[in-house]
């Protein structure tokens, strides 16, 4: 029986010729990631190891991004714990405020994730790097600690679901709409413990930013990882961002086994919104009423990349945020922030009456910088709309693409670009 892309990467890192779904393996890691919430717990655990120190100071990435610049004293203490640990262990890839970004946008940009890598991160959206053909998956702080200490992690080899993408999406339909549609179709546990492998002729119609968005939300379907084949576009991305790294391309065998296969025609998809309180509550505009909103957030590890900001700016240019609405734009990394400034996007946002923030997770997880009051509704380009995710328990989060978020900011209700003549 052949192997999937994910299984091949796991086999290689476990030093095995072949692995099968369900097999328990121990594998060597190329990168171990943590943030300002999960790392302090891992660092405490590190003290319990008999052998002190980290396995490789160049293969650990520490990114304070959730509550930074620090929102309160406790988060400042947590960040200090991470900073001091990084200093003590001479961690190369520690990213200080002012030189950082949201981890899953930052690491590929910094060339720290390439095709064929095996990556664990103490953050559930670590699955993002599958866009480049890496096997990456979220774990908890204890796994992170063990990974930092030993360079290894245990895995149960996943089975896989294949998504065959065909057709060209229309202008305002993005990677976000594709993944919300898929989660709506299979449910929030539709890919539990499994790999989501995205293939098909239409992969070429998706930008790298679209692919990052799709792989990022594999976890919202319960997936262990999401992964794309490595094509010319992915190679040119790696050449630009990781010129000093070598990468290895793994292709699924022709007889690889998939538990399920779906064909998705991207040309048939419309703008999609996930209603509260689960990402699987996906609806298109013909399935919803007019819904008034109070706030729009454009940012996060899902949709805070440059093409997301370009889309939002294209819609907000020469228009204004509706009266009584707050629109918060958060470029995902310093580099994107600078690029957005140079391209004039930030000016467009500010002129439209939006807030532009330094990179942070902030409101995405209800941390700070845009918390919702009781009963308020937000259209957000983030990835979770659980109860209380962005604030009060009875506030509501509607997940959408940057195009829908920007159009909604203009009208003050959930809207697609066609509603403002685009």
């Amino acid at each position: 029986m052949g192997m999937t892309m994910s299984q091949k990467i796991l086999a290689k890192h476990a030093g095995l010729d072949h692995v099968e779904a369900g097999q328990l393996i121990e594998a060597d890691l190329d990168l171990v990631l943590g943030n300002d919430i999960t790392s302090p717990v891992a660092i405490k655990e590190m003290d319990k190891f008999k052998h002190a120190g980290v396995f490789d100071k160049d293969k650990i990435a520490l990114v304070p991004d959730h509550f930074v610049p620090n929102k309160d004293i406790k988060s400042a203490e947590n960040c200090r714990c991470v900073r001091e640990f990084a200093r003590r262990n001479e961690i190369t890839n520690y990213f200080e405020v002012g030189q950082m970004g949201i981890e899953h946008a930052l690491l590929p940009e910094q060339g720290l994730t390439v095709a064929g890598d095996l990556i664990i991160g103490a953050d559930s959206h670590t699955c993002t790097y599958g866009a480049l053909g890496a096997f990456s998956t979220g774990v908890g702080s204890t796994d992170m600690a063990a990974g930092m200490a030993t360079g290894k992690a245990w895995f149960k080899v996943p089975s896989a679901i294949r998504f065959n993408l065909v057709g060209k999406p229309s202008k305002w339909v993005s990677g976000k709409d594709v993944i919300l549609h898929i989660i709506g179709m299979i449910g929030v546990d539709g890919a539990l413990y499994q790999s989501m492998e995205f293939t098909g002729e239409s992969v070429k119609n998706l930008s790298m930013d679209d692919r990052f968005t799709i792989a990022n939300m594999a976890i919202e379907a319960g997936g262990k990882n999401g992964i794309f084949p490595v094509d010319e576009l992915a190679v040119s991305y790696m050449k630009e961002h990781a010129p000093s790294r070598t990468w290895e391309v793994f292709e699924a065998d022709a007889d690889a086994e998939y538990e399920k296969e779906y064909t998705i025609d991207l040309s048939a998809l419309g703008s999609t919104v996930a209603f509260p309180h689960l990402p699987e509550n996906a609806r298109t505009f013909d399935q919803m009423e007019k819904i008034q909103i109070d706030q729009v957030v454009i940012g996060s590890c899902t949709n805070g990349r440059i093409s997301d900001l370009r889309t939002a700016a294209e819609i907000l240019k020469g228009r204004h945020v509706a009266q009584g609405m707050r629109c918060i734009v958060i470029p995902a990394t310093q580099k994107i922030y600078l690029q957005a400034m140079e391209e004039g996007l930030l000016k467009t946002f500010i002129e439209a009456g939006a807030v532009v923030s330094t990179p942070t997770c902030g409101p995405c997880l209800g941390g700070y910088m845009g918390i919702l009051a009781s009963g308020e509704r937000c259209v957000s380009t983030t990835n979770r709309n659980f109860v209380g995710r962005m604030g009060a328990i009875d506030s509501e989060v509607y997940l959408a693409s940057p195009a829908v978020a920007a159009a909604s900011a203009v009208t003050g209700r959930i809207s697609q670009p066609s509603e403002i003549g685009l």
Binding site: I37, V139, W154, Y193, K224, R389
Partner: protein, 163 residues
């Protein structure tokens, strides 16, 4: 811990880590403080009523969402001795094993056991007994590798013991 015995708190599908421990409390790593907010956004009275040894029973995809280990830590520190569910989200499953919080997958038990029932779980055999109704269920036993981690009360002890 080879067995658990306690009163059941019952939850539904897709109990996510944001309701198990809301992000507004993630600026601390202290287990006792985390426990004091455990389940706050889904059941305000949970922490007032839960006693040491009690058991959580839930339906499918328990622990979905973020990778925060603060979630199983909060549950464990609240005194919960075992979580039984139809299925668990995978990161939560890993984290629970890694920190030594016993969890058992058993769809039948998860559906049939009622809130307030007195339930005991034998971790060696995987047998779940609802003492209130007298029914028994066979939960999924752990593969030997995971059983070793649980026997060592967590991944770190296991690694220390085996290296």
């Amino acid at each position: 811990m080879k067995s658990a015995n306690g009163t059941v708190f019952k939850f539904g599908d897709n109990v996510d880590t944001d309701v198990i421990i809301p992000a507004r409390y993630l600026n601390t790593t202290d287990p006792a403080e985390l426990a004091s907010h455990c389940m706050e956004d889904i059941d305000r009275n949970f922490i007032k009523n839960v006693k040491s040894g009690d058991i959580i029973v839930a339906n499918k995809n328990f622990g979905c969402g973020s990778s925060r280990e603060h979630a199983p830590i909060a549950i464990k520190a609240a005194g919960v001795s075992c979580v039984i569910a139809e299925t668990f989200a995978r990161i939560f499953y890993r984290n629970s094993i890694n920190i030594g919080l016993p969890i058992v997958e058993c769809p039948e038990a998860a559906r049939q056991i009622g809130a307030g029932d007195q339930v005991s779980v034998n971790f060696d055999s995987g047998v779940i007994t609802d003492e209130t109704t007298g029914k028994t269920y066979q939960g999924q036993a752990f593969p030997p590798f995971m059983q070793k981690i649980i026997d060592c009360e967590g991944l770190i002890n296991y690694i220390n013991a085996s290296h």
